[in-house]
């Protein structure tokens, strides 16, 4: 559906979290991140009682929107903390936070949140999220742990983890390249 159709649909029930989420996703596709974030926030605000998975996903997508806008670190982190507080038993928010810290060279924080996230990757209760949040599975957290581990003195552990990822996990191409490039350090 187009933005126009989705807005008209939303106007029929403006507090419907699903309709707000759908409009946010359409703006996200158009790379209009400010618009997208605004409607994801509405989806979360109106859905936190009735639509917990949608709310959690909205919070993650808000963080992704502000991350793409650059230079909104405090808001990205705050939003991911909202997500963790809302659903502490899921891995995705830990992953995004770990990746955020890794990209900002805050290695210990990246390592800590990778490790925390890995505690929740085997939970059988994790239902699929209603939208993509750049988390492809547990290997993403292992990758963040491996990268950040190298920088905090855990060289051998990091090397073993990269090798394990290459040997035992089917990963998206960018992660494969990331592992191969990092292995050159050893």
């Amino acid at each position: 559906m187009s933005v126009e159709s989705l807005v008209i649909d939303l106007s029929l029930n403006t507090s419907d979290p699903i309709k707000n989420f759908a409009l946010g996703e359409e703006y996200e596709k158009l790379k209009q991140h400010a618009s997208a974030a605004g409607f994801f926030l509405r989806a979360a605000d109106y859905g936190y009682k009735s639509q917990p998975l949608l709310t959690y996903t909205s919070l993650l997508k808000m963080a992704l929107c502000w991350s793409r806008q650059n230079d909104r670190n405090a808001t990205v982190i705050n939003t991911l903390h909202h997500a963790i507080a809302f659903m502490p038993g899921r891995p995705e928010a830990y992953f995004l936070l770990a990746r955020h810290y890794e990209r900002n060279k805050e290695w210990q924080k990246a390592f800590t949140f990778s490790e925390l996230g890995l505690q929740f990757t085997i939970a059988t209760k994790n239902s699929p999220l209603p939208g993509y949040v750049e988390y492809n599975g547990p290997y993403c957290l292992m990758f963040e742990k491996a990268v950040s581990g190298w920088w905090i003195g855990r060289k051998e552990e990091s090397k073993a983890l990269f090798q394990h990822l290459l040997d035992d996990h089917k990963m998206a191409p960018e992660y494969v390249y990331g592992c191969l490039n990092n292995m050159k350090l050893f």
Binding site: L10, S11, T14, D45, Y46, Y48, L59, W66, T75
Partner: protein, 304 residues
């Protein structure tokens, strides 16, 4: 983003879209998810405290699809010296053949004093370029010359260089587009308003009436002393001599806490209304004549 719509004599549908470098964060409903600075925040880049506006001139087709857009090339007349940069919330008008963006600028003093400015725009419709060719900073009328911020004056589309400066009571002023000169033309008593009616769209002639969309603001601070607010709109109705005739009930477009309408234009018997949602998304809504007429009927019943 904040759009102001205008219909040219040749039928072109123009929209000036104000683009901002911030994202407005507004928690709604139970305000479950505050930003780091509270429920309502301007999220500007963390290493750049400025709230910067750029303007884009757009042309829509008859189905309101975007056909052309171009950033307005503004004159560089001074170095901005306050954190709000650029011409804000500009309304589009064409008076006596000249196209103007008329908005507020707050970057010429160190304390952010706001004054309305005329920016005359040269719009090349073949190459689709928009260039500011002259600018006049309008002083406040003499009796209000010490005011801190003049903004949201509503241009009267069929009365060149005239604005409704205040709605209730109504004050109409004239501002010279070629020199820093401004004077009060007349005032009209009105009933009391439930809340201060602030400027919104241009003033549009609608049959025997003039109409405009105003906005009103509820602003408060929560127990943490963090600001929060709600904007709502009303339709104001005057007769052809600007005697106040009515005020509609408050309404919103999408029930978002902050919306802002700075454009209205008659098009093929309907009214096009342009508005922003949370400064983050811009919309043009085609509103059938009968709906506007119903709103006017409701407004005419206003007794204050």
């Amino acid at each position: 983003m904040n759009p102001s719509i205008f219909i040219e004599d040749d039928g072109d549908i123009l929209v000036n879209v104000r683009l901002v470098n911030y994202t407005l964060y507004i928690s709604e409903q139970d305000e479950r998810f505050f930003s780091p600075w509270g429920p309502l925040t301007y999220l500007h880049p963390e290493k750049d405290q400025r709230l910067t506006t750029t303007n884009y001139f757009c042309r829509l087709d008859k189905n309101l699809n975007l056909q052309n857009s171009t950033q307005v090339k503004m004159l560089e007349l001074h170095k901005p010296i306050w954190e709000f940069h650029g011409l804000e919330d500009a309304r589009v008008v064409r008076w006596n053949g000249d196209l103007y963006l008329i908005g507020v600028r707050r970057d010429t003093t160190t304390n952010g004093q706001g004054r309305m400015e005329y920016s005359k725009i040269e719009l090349d419709k073949d190459k689709w370029t928009a260039t500011e060719v002259s600018r006049v900073r309008v002083p406040a009328p003499v009796h209000e010359d010490t005011s801190y911020c003049e903004k949201n004056w509503m241009p009267i589309l069929d009365n060149p260089y005239h604005f409704v400066k205040w709605t209730m009571p109504t004050e109409v002023i004239w501002a010279n587009p070629d020199a820093p000169e401004c004077k009060q033309v007349f005032t009209r008593e009105t009933p009391s308003s439930p809340k201060d009616q602030r400027g919104g769209s241009q003033i549009v002639r609608w049959g025997d009436f003039y109409i405009a969309f105003t906005h009103e603001v509820a602003l408060w601070r929560n127990y943490l002393n963090q600001k929060d607010s709600v904007y709502r709109h009303r339709l104001v109705v005057w007769d052809k001599d600007f005697n106040f005739k009515g005020l509609s009930k408050e309404f919103s477009f999408l029930d978002v806490k902050i919306e802002f309408c700075v454009g209205a234009a008659v098009y093929e018997d309907d009214l096009l209304i342009s508005f922003s949602v949370a400064d983050n998304a811009a919309f043009v809504m085609r509103t059938p004549r009968h709906v506007i007429n119903e709103m006017i009927t409701e407004a005419l019943a206003y007794v204050g």
